[in-house]
């Protein structure tokens, strides 16, 4: 059990509108880390896509969770029991194998525990 003090935070949903383009999902507060505890997504594309969650340094996207198969025009998520709770030391990004402007975008929302 992690006994470090942490606060639960959920910000706005983010919309991925371009394929293979890292999109900021959650900006970690300076001086803290963030453990991903819940994730919900919706695939607005007409075909299944692959959704990746990771970090991005401006040049390289690094996947931090196993790839997610997002079914066409469906929502799904990782509940608190299922989420690997990877601890991010930098901002959380997502990228999709295919995406376009709404309503064909891929929507993602993250719930994290910020530790600091």
């Amino acid at each position: 059990m992690d006994e470090r003090p942490g606060i639960r935070v959920c910000k706005d949903r983010r919309s991925i509108t371009a394929a293979a383009t890292p999109t900021l999902v959650y900006q970690v507060t300076t001086g803290r880390t963030a453990r991903l505890v819940k994730l919900v997504w919706y695939n607005g594309q007409a075909a299944d896509i692959t959704l990746e969650i990771g970090t991005y340094d401006g040049a390289t996207f690094t996947r931090r969770l196993p790839r997610i198969r997002a079914i066409t025009r469906q929502h799904d998520g990782l509940s608190e029991l299922e989420c690997p709770e990877f601890e991010f030391e930098s901002d959380i990004y997502a990228q999709a194998s295919a995406a376009a402007d709404a309503p064909n975008d891929v929507e993602v929302i993250a719930v994290v525990t910020e530790i600091g």
Partner: protein, 188 residues
């Protein structure tokens, strides 16, 4: 025999009861009072202070908690603890200038993490005398605007009788007034 009190761990309890003598450190002396009356101040909406909306990584600026105004005659004192309801870093000052919770090099803040590692909040306790109502500067450490930035207080208010004596050292106070409880308002 002197009793030293300052922010004992555990639920907040009054520094003394009516009739007890207090020596309160307000730099540069110990000022002496007798407790005449005390009033509990339970945590409730009137004791929740909102420093307002704060943009990402910005600060509220100094905001005096004027609702905690105390009377000078008879002199009144507050013994209060607080915690953050919103994701802020609060700097606490006694009056406008005396920053609390500081070392030579740093100033500790009250955040939402504070209550998690100090559930009884004893490390947040401050003593406030007339004219020294708390002033708060709340900073938003996040990357998004906070619509409100609240601190919630609870504790006790005391009515005091001014013994009109002030001393530089603990020994002097003890010789003149023992038994007496020593507490610090700040400004050391």
């Amino acid at each position: 025999m002197a009793e030293f009190y300052y922010a004992n761990p555990g639920p907040i309890k009054p520094v003394g009861l009516p009739g007890h003598k207090l020596a309160i450190w307000v730099s540069p002396k110990w000022h002496c009072f007798k407790i005449a009356f005390l009033e509990p101040l339970p945590l409730s909406a009137p004791l929740v202070f909102d420093m307002g909306a704060i943009a990402a990584r910005a600060s509220s600026g100094d905001i005096a908690l004027t609702s905690l105004k105390l009377t000078e005659t008879p002199p009144e004192m507050l013994q209060i603890r607080c915690y953050a309801l919103d994701d802020i870093e609060a700097t606490v000052k006694r009056g406008a200038a005396d920053v609390r919770f500081r070392t030579k090099a740093i100033i500790a803040k009250i955040t939402r993490f504070t209550k998690q590692i100090d559930p009884c909040l004893h490390t947040t306790e401050i003593i406030v005398l007339k004219g020294d109502e708390p002033t708060i500067n709340a900073r938003n450490p996040t990357d998004y605007t906070l619509a409100q930035s609240r601190l919630a207080f609870h504790g006790f208010k005391f009515g005091l009788e001014d013994l009109k004596q002030a001393f530089s050292t603990v020994d002097e106070v003890e010789r003149a007034l023992a038994p007496v409880t020593f507490i610090a308002a700040g400004g050391y």
